[in-house]
C-alpha cells in the first residue's frame, strides 16, 4: 500500500463516522472510540425490526432476537479466534468481565497463602477486583513491575512466579505506556509455573489482531466501546474447560436450567454467566463494529496508527519542556502517547488544548499504582485511532508547543 493509498483509505473510512465531521481533533480513543454509521444503523435496525426478549419467547420475533444475539457471539469468538462461541460471555465492559472472573474464579481457586501476580501497570479495573479477592482469601498480591520503558522482562516475571502462583493478571497493551506485552511468551512462562493467565485486552483488541489460541490466554477481557462499538457491551473470553468449572457471578433469570425451592440447576455455559435480560442491541452493535474492523482491515488500521504515533512521538521530542512517559521509541507505543509538560499541570494542558479543539486526556488514567511507580501524580495522554489524520497530529503538536508560553513560562 502506498502512502497515498493509505491516506485515501483513511479519508474514505473516516467519512463513515458522523461525529468526526465536527471541527475537533479527537485524540482520546483509548477512553472510547467514535462509532461508524454501520454500527448505529445495525442497532437501529435491530430495534426497529427484530427486538424482543431473546430466549424467552417461542414466537418468531423472539427467535430472531436470539439469533441476532448468538450471531454476535459467534462473530466475537471468531474475531479473537476462540475455539467455540460458548467461550464468549457478554458483559457490559472489560471492568465487568474482570470482576466476573476475579469473583467467581478466586472463590473456588484461591486459598490462604496463594499468590496472584498483578502488574503495576494495570488499569484499576484489573487491579481492584484481584486485590479485593486476595484480601478476602488471605492470599498475596504480588506486584509485577515493568522496566522504565514499560517492558516486562523475563527476570521481573521470574521473580514473581513461584509454586504458590495461581494466576497472573496482565494487560496486553498498557493504557498509559502504550507498550505491547508479549502475551504468548508470558503465557508460556506462566503455564510452566502451573498458573493461569488473565489478559486485559481493552487496549489491544481494538488495535491489533488478538488470537487467544495462538497466545494461549486462559482469559481475555475487552470492551466494545473502545473498538468502534457501542457502550454497554463487552466480553469475557475463557477457555471452555475453565468456563465449565466457573461458578456463576450473578444470579437470576435466564442463567438457570431449573429452579425449585430447595434445588437449582444452572444453564449451560455461557448463559450461566448472563443473568437477566441481555443487551442484544449492544451485541448487534459490537458485531457490526467487528464487521467494520474486518472491512477496513488491520493493515490500514495498524499502518495509520503507527504513522500517527511516529509523528507524535518525534514531534513531542522536538518541543522544549515536554517529557514523554515510557519508552522514547515510537514503535513501543501502540497508538498511545503519554507526556508531561514542565511546570504546567496536566489538567491545565488538557483544558488549554481542549479550547483549541484538541481532545486529550489528563489525569491518572485509572492507573494510580502506575503513577506511583513512575513517581508522577497525573499525566496527559493522546491516543489515536486509524481515523485520525496527520493534520490532527500537526494541530496537536502546534497547540502543545504553545502551552508553556500561554501559562507564562518561557519556551
Amino acid at each position: 500500500m502506498t502512502d497515498q493509498e493509505l491516506k485515501d483509505n483513511v479519508i474514505k473510512y473516516r467519512k463513515l463516522f458522523p461525529l468526526l465531521s465536527q471541527d475537533i481533533a479527537y485524540l482520546d480513543n483509548a477512553a472510547t472510540t467514535q462509532k461508524p454509521v454501520a454500527v448505529l444503523d445495525a442497532m437501529k435496525a435491530y430495534y426497529e425490526e427484530d427486538n424482543a426478549n431473546p430466549f424467552r419467547g417461542v414466537y418468531d420475533l423472539s427467535e430472531r432476537a436470539t439469533e441476532r444475539y448468538e450471531e454476535a457471539r459467534a462473530k466475537t469468538a471468531a474475531f479473537i479466534n476462540a475455539s467455540t462461541p460458548e467461550e464468549i460471555v457478554f458483559v457490559r465492559n472489560a471492568t465487568e468481565a474482570l470482576n466476573l472472573l476475579a469473583y467467581s474464579w478466586c472463590e473456588d481457586n484461591i486459598s490462604e497463602g496463594d499468590e496472584i501476580v498483578v502488574s503495576v501497570m494495570e488499569h484499576h479495573s484489573d487491579f481492584l477486583p484481584w486485590k479485593y479477592m486476595a484480601e478476602k482469601k488471605n492470599a498475596k498480591l504480588v506486584k509485577l513491575e515493568p522496566d522504565e520503558t514499560g517492558a516486562v522482562t523475563d527476570e521481573a516475571l521470574d521473580k514473581c512466579l513461584s509454586d504458590k502462583t495461581k494466576l497472573v493478571a496482565i494487560t496486553q497493551v498498557s493504557n498509559v505506556l502504550g507498550r505491547v506485552n508479549d502475551i504468548k511468551h508470558i503465557a508460556e512462562k506462566v503455564h510452566a509455573a502451573g498458573a493461569l493467565i488473565s489478559v486485559d485486552g481493552a487496549q489491544s483488541v481494538p488495535h491489533m489482531k488478538v488470537d487467544v489460541r495462538d497466545m494461549d490466554a486462559d482469559f481475555l477481557s475487552f470492551s466494545g466501546h473502545k473498538m468502534y462499538g457501542p457502550m454497554g457491551i463487552g466480553a469475557l473470553y475463557a477457555k471452555k474447560k475453565h468456563l465449565e468449572k466457573l461458578r456463576p457471578f450473578m444470579y437470576g433469570g435466564e442463567m438457570i436450567a431449573t429452579v425449585h425451592w430447595d434445588r437449582v440447576t444452572y444453564a449451560e455455559i455461557p448463559h450461566k454467566f448472563e443473568a437477566g435480560t441481555v443487551n442484544v442491541g449492544g451485541a448487534v452493535g459490537l458485531s457490526a463494529a467487528i464487521d467494520f474492523i474486518n472491512e477496513v482491515g488491520w493493515d490500514i488500521m495498524e499502518k495509520q496508527e503507527e504513522k500517527l504515533t511516529l509523528k507524535a512521538v518525534n514531534g513531542i521530542k522536538e518541543i522544549n519542556g515536554i517529557r514523554l512517559i515510557g519508552s522514547d521509541r515510537p514503535e513501543d507505543h501502540k497508538g498511545i502517547v503519554t507526556f508531561m509538560v514542565d511546570d504546567v499541570h496536566p489538567h491545565d494542558v488538557a483544558d488549554i488544548m481542549g479550547r483549541a479543539g484538541v481532545c486529550v486526556r489528563a489525569g491518572h488514567h485509572c492507573a494510580q499504582p502506575l503513577m506511583d511507580h513512575l513517581g508522577v501524580k497525573s499525566t496527559c495522554r493522546a491516543s489515536f485511532a486509524f481515523y485520525n489524520t496527520e493534520e490532527e497530529v500537526d494541530k496537536f503538536l502546534t497547540e502543545l508547543s504553545k502551552v508553556r508560553g500561554l501559562m507564562g513560562y518561557g519556551f
Binding site: 511546570d343 504546567v344 499541570h345 496536566p346 489538567h347 491545565d348 483544558d351 488549554i352 479550547r355 489528563a362 489525569g363 491518572h364 501524580k377 497525573s378 500561554l406 501559562m407 507564562g408 513560562y409
Partner: protein
C-alpha cells in the same frame, strides 16, 4: 470562551509566583482539601488571633486554577475577621455558581478574576477547592 479571560494574568501570576504556597509555623487551623476526580490537593493552614486571621499558607499540588485560587484567597483573608472570611467564601462560591451580583463580584477584588470559571463546569471544582476547605475549616469550629 477566550483563553485570556480564563487563564488570565492574575491566575498565571499567582500560579507561577504564589505568595502563600508554604507551610506556616504552629497553625491554629489546618485542613486538607482534595478533588478526587482530578487529583488537586491542598492543605490549608491559618493562624487566628482574637478572631482575626493573622497568617496563612498552603501546600499542595494541582492545576493552575486550584493553586492560584487558593493563593488569592489566602492573600485576601489575612488581616480579616473569620466571619468576614466566611462571608467572602460564600460570595466566591456564589460567584462561581453565577449567583453573585456585579457589586458582590467587586467585593471579591482579585478573586473576581476567576468569575468566568462559572461557565466551565469541568473546572468549577478546581476554583472552589480552597474556599470550600476554608469554609469547612473555620465554619465548623466556633
Amino acid at each position: 470562551m477566550d483563553f485570556k479571560t480564563f487563564y488570565n494574568e492574575v491566575v498565571t501570576d499567582h500560579n507561577m509566583h504564589p505568595l502563600h504556597k508554604h507551610a506556616i509555623e504552629n497553625p491554629d487551623f489546618e485542613m486538607e482539601g482534595v478533588n478526587p476526580s482530578c487529583g488537586d490537593e491542598i492543605t490549608l493552614q491559618l493562624k487566628v488571633k482574637d478572631g482575626v486571621i493573622t497568617e496563612g499558607g498552603f501546600v499542595g499540588d494541582g492545576c493552575a486554577i486550584s493553586q492560584a485560587s487558593a493563593d488569592i484567597m489566602i492573600d485576601m483573608v489575612i488581616g480579616k475577621k473569620t466571619e468576614e472570611a466566611l462571608h467572602l467564601a460564600d460570595l466566591f462560591i456564589r460567584m462561581i455558581k453565577s449567583e453573585a451580583s456585579p457589586e458582590e463580584i467587586d467585593e471579591l477584588q482579585e478573586a473576581g478574576a476567576l468569575a468566568d470559571i462559572s461557565h466551565m463546569p469541568a473546572r468549577v471544582k478546581c476554583a472552589v477547592l480552597g474556599w470550600h476547605t476554608l469554609d469547612e475549616m473555620i465554619g465548623k469550629k466556633d
